[in-house]
């Protein structure tokens, strides 16, 4: 699976100014709606599902990264939005550190394999300190997209 096949370029947010986890997730889901990838009618339900999942345990997986996610019947394939929070956000992460990089994932309802492969693809790249560093230095959605294309081409 390639990052550029699942990330929605038009929804990428590089200057997230969210003051809370909920605010960040709301903006990221809103970005997918604005990009025409989810409908206004599904937006609140998707947001609620992602927040409910966070209540079960943070998706802040360490090294400044979080992967908030849910499954929803309205999507045919995995939808991912990337956001950068330059100031760092308290996400109640597993390692207690602030989050700077967010990959929000919405997966089809009944395809757990696709969901796991999506998370595998994202975390395989996030494991790389270079990737995280370059991502955090990205100023525009175009910068992020070029980086995603570069790492896709190398893997």
């Amino acid at each position: 699976m390639r990052l550029t096949d699942i990330v929605v370029k038009e929804a990428i947010l590089t200057e997230l100014e969210a003051s809370s986890k909920e605010d960040a997730i709301r903006q990221m889901v809103g970005g997918l709606k604005a990009a025409g990838k989810i409908s206004a009618g599904d937006e609140e339900a998707i947001l609620a599902a992602i927040l409910k999942r966070e209540e079960l345990g943070s998706t802040g997986i360490g090294w400044g990264c979080a992967v908030p996610h849910t499954k929803h019947p309205s999507v045919d394939g995995i939808l991912v939005n990337v956001a950068l929070h330059p100031q760092g956000l308290d996400f109640q992460s597993l390692d207690g550190e602030d989050v700077f990089i967010l990959f929000l994932v919405i997966s089809p309802w009944d395809r757990p394999g696709d969901h796991l492969r999506g998370l595998e693809t994202i975390t395989r790249h996030l494991k790389s300190e270079d990737f995280r560093s370059f991502l955090r230095q990205s100023k525009t959605a175009e910068d992020v997209w070029e980086l995603l294309q570069e790492v896709d081409d190398r893997s």
Binding site: L56, G57, T59, I61, G62, W63, V67, H69, L94, P112, G113, H115, L116, R117, L119, E120, T123, R124, L126, K127
Partner: protein, 96 residues
């Protein structure tokens, strides 16, 4: 199977994953919390991939679906207990 090597012991076990959603993030998080206090090392393998079970990032690389056979190897003090706890999680006997 348990092998003793001085004070450190090795326990290896193969377990069939019995979780509808496979080895998803919340399960990985639970495994990390079980393994982190263990005085030793734990590796979990699926097919040709092996993860240090204290690493969320590595566990998420395993992409194991229901029915997959996972191989657990624990080295350290009292490895049977930690492998027992991991088996309970992977076989759906422990709620989370």
């Amino acid at each position: 199977m348990s092998v003793s090597m001085g004070k450190s012991q090795t326990e290896t076990r193969s377990v069939e994953l019995y979780l509808e959603q496979g080895l998803h993030l919340r399960v990985c998080s639970l495994l990390v919390s079980i393994v982190t206090p263990f005085d030793g090392s734990v590796k979990i393998s699926h097919e040709d991939r092996t993860a240090d079970a204290t690493s969320m990032f590595e566990l998420l690389q395993l992409v194991a679906l229901k029915g997959a056979v996972l191989h657990i190897e624990a080295n350290g003090k009292d490895p049977i207990s930690v492998v027992d706890q991991i088996e309970e999680v992977l076989t759906g006997k422990r709620e989370y």
